[in-house]
Subunit: 243 residues, 6 copies
Amino acid sequence: MSFQRPNGRAADQLRSVRITRGFTIHAEGSVLIEFGQTRVLCTASVEDKVPPHKRGSGEGWVTAEYGMLPRATHTRGDREAARGKQSGRTQEIQRLIGRSLRAVFDLKALGERTIHLDCDVLQADGGTRTAAITGAFVAAQDAVTKLMATGKLAASPITGPVAAISVGIVEGTPLLDLEYVEDVACDTDMNVVMTGAGHYVEVQGTAEGVAFTRAEMDQLLRLAEKGIAELVAHQAAALKLAL
Amino acid sequence: MSFQRPNGRAADQLRSVRITRGFTIHAEGSVLIEFGQTRVLCTASVEDKVPPHKRGSGEGWVTAEYGMLPRATHTRGDREAARGKQSGRTQEIQRLIGRSLRAVFDLKALGERTIHLDCDVLQADGGTRTAAITGAFVAAQDAVTKLMATGKLAASPITGPVAAISVGIVEGTPLLDLEYVEDVACDTDMNVVMTGAGHYVEVQGTAEGVAFTRAEMDQLLRLAEKGIAELVAHQAAALKLAL
Amino acid sequence: MSFQRPNGRAADQLRSVRITRGFTIHAEGSVLIEFGQTRVLCTASVEDKVPPHKRGSGEGWVTAEYGMLPRATHTRGDREAARGKQSGRTQEIQRLIGRSLRAVFDLKALGERTIHLDCDVLQADGGTRTAAITGAFVAAQDAVTKLMATGKLAASPITGPVAAISVGIVEGTPLLDLEYVEDVACDTDMNVVMTGAGHYVEVQGTAEGVAFTRAEMDQLLRLAEKGIAELVAHQAAALKLAL
Amino acid sequence: MSFQRPNGRAADQLRSVRITRGFTIHAEGSVLIEFGQTRVLCTASVEDKVPPHKRGSGEGWVTAEYGMLPRATHTRGDREAARGKQSGRTQEIQRLIGRSLRAVFDLKALGERTIHLDCDVLQADGGTRTAAITGAFVAAQDAVTKLMATGKLAASPITGPVAAISVGIVEGTPLLDLEYVEDVACDTDMNVVMTGAGHYVEVQGTAEGVAFTRAEMDQLLRLAEKGIAELVAHQAAALKLAL
Amino acid sequence: MSFQRPNGRAADQLRSVRITRGFTIHAEGSVLIEFGQTRVLCTASVEDKVPPHKRGSGEGWVTAEYGMLPRATHTRGDREAARGKQSGRTQEIQRLIGRSLRAVFDLKALGERTIHLDCDVLQADGGTRTAAITGAFVAAQDAVTKLMATGKLAASPITGPVAAISVGIVEGTPLLDLEYVEDVACDTDMNVVMTGAGHYVEVQGTAEGVAFTRAEMDQLLRLAEKGIAELVAHQAAALKLAL
Amino acid sequence: MSFQRPNGRAADQLRSVRITRGFTIHAEGSVLIEFGQTRVLCTASVEDKVPPHKRGSGEGWVTAEYGMLPRATHTRGDREAARGKQSGRTQEIQRLIGRSLRAVFDLKALGERTIHLDCDVLQADGGTRTAAITGAFVAAQDAVTKLMATGKLAASPITGPVAAISVGIVEGTPLLDLEYVEDVACDTDMNVVMTGAGHYVEVQGTAEGVAFTRAEMDQLLRLAEKGIAELVAHQAAALKLAL
């Protein structure tokens, strides 16, 4: 008998996904994305300069930062600004978000400007990094649309959508989109980032307990593929709405 | 002729105030407070221990931290966690919030526990520190109510409400509750923190341009008194709602 | 019956004030200021460049740093340089000193140069920030005089004197210029910065214990006004002496 | 036509692997591992205490730190100790090494002690993290053998070998064990960590340029499996030698 | 023809030495020492606990910190507290002061307490580290006298005086007690720390320009010996005065 | 009767010295130097720019950094990169290495380029700083030879060899080249840096226990002179080998 998910969710079912564009007013793109109880505010800010390694290259840059409000979680965590440094986990996640978004950007077509993606977790219930990637794409799209509307860009530097989802094995059952209680209980945890075309941008699988087999990996990859196709549809639906 | 405020607001009029309790699910108190376009998320977290200077004293502690999301503002600011330190401004504000809330707490009655107030600005349009204090009080009240409901506290350690508002002089006109464009234009800027009984907890007035006179200060203090009375009423109304 | 001050000082009496110009030899202005047992060394250093936010503006800058020798106090405090960061209190004070001095500087008339005011407490007995502001003004004046004497400035960018004093309520009695034992005992503590013309530059009042009333604030402001008039006279007397 | 590897290496061929145990004298385990020109010194140090989150749990801990000598690379990099912080890349790698080694440790059987694995790159030519994991296992094994020889452990807490290899696609050709020039040129880069039993501990695949397909991933996983089987044989051979 | 010193000072002549005890009121020992225009405030603070490496040893500890006010020098230097770290030079000097003072302390006889020596340069004109050591000894002696007067120590843990002086070769002439302009011009610079008995505690000689010969070193050591004998006499004279 | 050294070494005998050039492949100079069990990897890296204080001066710069692998020692030390700062000892040593090497460089002849000397201790058994200086000279020489071979320098900016050795007094016996157990036991410890011409670059003597006499210093200096002459011969022999 397999693991019973909270709220009777099916093993291959995403939590309810909500994407709210224009959540705050100042940023060129501002998206609140919700995967169930996980809520991440993703803003895209356009800056008309690039970091040193891109200066004079004619290319732009896309970069991300990630943060978690101290009480986004069950028990309060330290504020990283007060501690004076970002944790290894934070840095790992923001590097992942940055790479994932760059995978769908033609940096030459972007021109010498930077898009900063800030992903701040207001409420955490598992899957914050995958929600962040999925929401950051929508925010980036809105920022690009604005650059085109104001004539700063003639054509979009975005080559297609990108989204991410977690999958894992809990008590032998492969599950899609782990929420917190499942994440804690899982033996294997995998985050998958894919393009709208169904190709892989990142695969990060970790055995928390027992090492996993090739057969298990195949099951997880199939689940992820299904989930990401659904997320890409959610992104498309949200972007069709007038802002 | 006096200064015309945006949206035809009267000189002694607060922006629209909204207080949303239970904005996030994990914290003992979680309040989104809005002063017009300024939005601050205030959470209260209870921890069953106290900092070193209070250990063994039988007294509790109330402390605050303040942060601003990088794109809460018109142009993106550095993330303090990434820079590796909090600015002087941030520290000044969080010390102010902490002192203001402690002014209405009987720390002995709180017992050896700490209430952490995290005030994170999601969107800034002037008055973030005064919104933070006003919202933090509601979050603290919710946390105390929970401590009493679970029998951890027999009586409330809160001695009354506390709220804060900014006042300032723009082109010779004393104004209540400055929004960003007014804040930038003002000659004198004052933040006032008062109790529900109409007594002062903090007064911080700064001449940005010309030094101000005693008569001007008196005008500003009267405006602040009016604004705070209205904020205390907003707090009371919000707290009457079932959560 | 009212509170008895140490050494039979009257409630509205300053401690003995001593201002020693030319205390050290290298700085353009170097002043040891003493408010009773509180001793602060204030130096003014002129640098022929400005911070980034003023570059190319044609304007100068005035900035302050504050420090406390580890054993300036009753018990030894940590050395901030060894701990690797300045406390929130230190930053708050040095920001206050900087703003206070800028209030009497015409930055355009100063030209593109910076005056650094370093205020280092050699011995602390209450009122270090107010002594620092009062002494820093004299050091700044000496530096400006030197700039004029060497032909680097044709006219003074200083618009008038600035000085600061603390006032507070101890056991119900409003007192001028709190020394350490009074500071520890006081319910309300207010630092007031005023120009020679008797206008306010900064007012920072804090209720340490009970919140204070409007009537009490008025009493404190009157005391401060009296004290600052005396301090401005002390500054003038010191500046008349040949160096 | 496929990509020609340096030195005529076959696409599925490891670089020459050398494992030198007892490379330094003080550590409980000290291994120099070489994957071609990549050379990493891995030491295992046993400490008779555990970090706070394991205190009193009866369990031990295995943790790793990673560093790169400033001139291990083609051009000199900053010394992280001098810069005052470890880069995101360094933290990501040392977290990966730690997780990988913990995957083959029974922490209960280890008892309340910590094994610190220090992996320092003396010379870099691609694949430093996979060499580090593969070498750290041998160092850890030597440390455990010493604990058993001195009677501190009755049975080994190690459940089996663990090793790691990189695979990637360069100009369409899937390659095993990328060296630096290949790493720079590759479109897809994957690091795979597996146990001696052929199960996965970590899979981290990244599309540097174009996103990769499921078919490509399958090719890469097969190559990795082959490489790791060979590395596990190298580890076994090295460990059979008397020290 | 040899180098002409400022103010007609002889090659083997100290600058005027002034030792003012009780310079500040809070510290157990507080000494302003002046070597000509170099002025260092040395305080000794007694703390009734020891650092971790001495806990439970029955022994005490003597340690030093060194700082330079930003405008102690000709041009303003950065404030180390603001920069967030002490320079290598500062650390080198404070380690030297600590070792020098420990050389004349019987740590067992001191008991489990720490003497903190804070040496802060108010004005620099060469020789700040040697003035600091010489002054710190007097401050430490005053602190010990106080411990004995209050019955906390039965016998003095100090085994004898310690003092320090710089010597150097400028344009071929060996000079005692270099002031700033000489320090800048010198080829060889040596700091010598000796006990009252004429034995060496530290010798630190550095060739700034050309390497120096054994004969030159011998000349410098003789000069230093003479200077230190005079400094020890100054210390003794200062300590004979009633405080 | 005098102190018996480990392995029957004579009091005036160096440990076996090994100098391996070309130890790693990327650096312009790369030397593994061994003084008995002490092993330090010294690399010289050439960079075509200079630090700010040399820009536009036409002169070059030579600088050093020093590090110790965490388990180079008997018990594991903290990794400085992880702790976020270099210890005072590390800074003291790297400043000493830099000064020592600059003593044999004509910075004008070097031109506006920097030579970075990285000295990393792989295994420590006393004398790491003296081994580092002695090895860094060989690495620097190799880097200069490469600059001349590629036509970037017409003549060598090196004025002659430099080497360093430790000497000390253990149980009354003056010893050359202290190894760890002797270092721990010694009363007096001196590090001497000399040129090939037998002149002093640095002398740093410290009394660990009792202060030392002039006669003892003379004995130590004679021992050091002998040792350094032998080290200079070792350097010359190593440099004669084809690389």
